[in-house]
């Protein structure tokens, strides 16, 4: 049993046959993750006490002859924007460097009830704002595939940990691509479920009409198993959906013959050749499986980036107003007045990207500009959602690239915020429409860099998305090229 390549199924088998105990496995997984972490900085901190406690619970259940749960004894990681009671949660921000949450996120409660063992909290862009993980106050994450390159962002630590093998699965969060883009850069599976599918109670808010919690896995089944556990209505989050949660792994029956797939023209125009070639090969795999592939159009695509960056910064400026030095953040030393305390605390505490977005959001919401920016963007968002609704009358799923290019070098794009924003073009549309979408590995470039293929389906059809992704994986799609 090689720790870095462990899957949920292997853990279940090993525990069931008593070859290893959950405590032994957690101890070894912690030792391995702590030894490997300096290479990538994927974890910000570990929580060995909590991990061993969860492992003991799994062992107790097994000793009593009970099922340890769908994640029984599985070592996993949680992005550090998701609250863990008694375990530091920093959002990769100086402001929350010492913050110890007084409660657990619903997703965390559910995955521990399912037997999961949280090893630690993963690095990310500060308050989940970024596409490269270079905006962390605690240093960037390095891509385990090539340590000179970024892992993507904002959930770069979770993607890197799964790719590096220091977590079997992981939780991330996605507002404009923060799960799928790092999954594609690190060569793992990353899923953004339907808006409201997973409770956000205990997810630190960035842009509330766009925020999602979602899973990372090495395999489609791993990600589907984790989503199964955390999905479903939660009365602590009034935006969480009532729709019943079907069996995701059971849906992965391999039968995708006759499934209609649309390729949106707007996503393939001007696409860098290597990424485009690999996606084309991925599409060939789907055709061989019997899928019917056709071109479709999503005409409002070119307006998605300005639309997204108006809405997300407006919501962020409001959500981040709470970090004022009074209740739970660090506070500026010896302020002259109350207002100076707010301003100095925030000026010293936020990194450059958070400040930029708070400034943009405040500007677009300010008197005289609201109609021109925020209201306009909300109308354009309607058009983008309408495009998808129209497309799903013709096709069952949409397939696109995840990112215009594979992982770039650290520092390469850090000086040009607009260029960084433009790289989110293929992932933000799914968030704006609130539909489920995921990244699956689709081969590697000549330099060995992973490329991700995006699959999008209609609201609440995660099962259809997993069926397609599972069949693609089974047919060798992850390693095309």
């Amino acid at each position: 049993m090689e720790i870095a390549r462990l899957t949920i199924d292997q853990v279940r088998d090993a525990l069931a046959s008593r070859r290893v105990s959950a405590v032994e496995l957690a101890t070894e997984a912690l030792r391995f993750a702590q030894a490997e972490n300096p290479k990538t900085n994927a974890y910000l901190h570990f929580c060995p006490e909590r991990a061993l406690q969860a492992a003991r619970r799994a062992d107790d259940r097994i000793a009593r002859g009970e099922d340890p749960g769908p994640l029984g004894g599985v070592p996993l990681a949680v992005k550090d924007v998701i609250l863990t009671k008694g375990v530091r949660t920093t959002c990769a921000s100086r402001l929350l460097a010492r913050y110890i949450p007084p409660y657990d996120a619903t997703a965390v409660i559910r995955l521990e009830q399912a037997g999961g063992v949280i090893l630690g909290k993963t690095n990310c862009d500060e308050f989940a704002m970024g596409s490269s993980n270079e905006n962390s106050a605690f240093g960037p994450v390095r891509n385990p595939v090539d340590l000179d390159r970024v892992p993507g962002g904002s959930s770069g630590g979770s993607a890197a940990a799964v790719s590096q093998g220091t977590a079997v699965v992981a939780l991330g969060s996605d507002t404009g691509g923060s799960i799928r883009q790092p999954a594609s850069f690190c060569g793992v599976v990353g899923v953004t479920p339907t808006y409201g599918r997973v409770s956000r109670y205990g997810l630190v808010a960035f842009a509330s009409s766009l925020d999602h919690i979602g899973p990372f896995g090495k395999t489609v089944k791993g990600a589907a198993t984790l989503l199964q556990v955390i999905a479903g209505r939660d009365e602590m989050d009034s935006t969480s959906a009532f729709a019943p949660v079907p069996g995701y792994v059971a849906a992965m029956d391999g039968n995708v013959r006759g499934i209609k797939i649309g390729l949106p023209r707007e996503y393939f125009r001007g696409l860098a050749s290597e990424t485009g070639d690999l996606i084309a090969r991925g599409v060939e795999v789907l055709k061989k499986l019997g899928c019917q592939v056709s071109d479709i159009s999503l005409p409002a695509t070119e307006y998605a980036i300005p639309c997204y960056y108006i809405i997300c910064t407006a919501e962020a400026s409001s959500n981040l107003a709470r970090y004022d030095g009074v209740r739970y953040t660090t506070r500026s030393r010896s302020p002259e007045s109350l207002i100076d305390m707010y301003r100095s605390t925030r000026g010293e505490g936020f990194g450059a990207e958070c400040k930029r977005r708070v400034m943009l959001g405040t500007y677009v919401l300010s008197a005289g500009y609201y109609d021109a920016y925020y209201l306009k963007a909300q109308k354009v968002r309607t058009l983008i959602a309408r495009d998808f609704a129209e497309a799903f009358r013709q096709v069952d799923a949409i397939v696109t690239p995840v990112s215009p290019f594979p992982a770039f070098k650290l520092g390469e794009k850090v000086d040009d915020p607009l260029e960084m924003y433009l790289s989110d073009i293929y992932t933000i549309t799914g968030d704006l429409a609130g539909i489920p979408c995921m990244s699956v590995p689709c081969g590697r470039t000549a330099q060995g860099l992973p490329v991700g293929m995006q699959i999008l389906t209609n609201h609440f059809d995660e099962a259809g998305m997993f069926r397609l992704a599972g069949a693609f994986e089974e047919a060798g799609g992850f390693t095309v090229g």
Partner: protein
Amino acid sequence: MKITEQEVRYVADLANLKLAEEEVQRFARDLDGILTYMDKLNELDTSDVEPMAQVLYDAGETATLRGDSERRTLDNETALANAPLPGAGYFKVPKVIER
């Protein structure tokens, strides 16, 4: 020019952000580029389009309401545990009222 340095200072005040002089210059440049790009939305005629105020809602209007029954919330000590300056069961801040 979409935004001047003076406007950047005004917005920073609205956002309660103290910015260094070089940050003001940097953000004036950055925001100008980004806001110019955002003008692209004006190419679209949206006069007949409803704004998307609700992403997705799959239940009846009152489905998220619960019974008006008492529940446990954080106790005082827990609520203050992360405060940078707690005192006598409160959050302490610089004085705002002159005697």
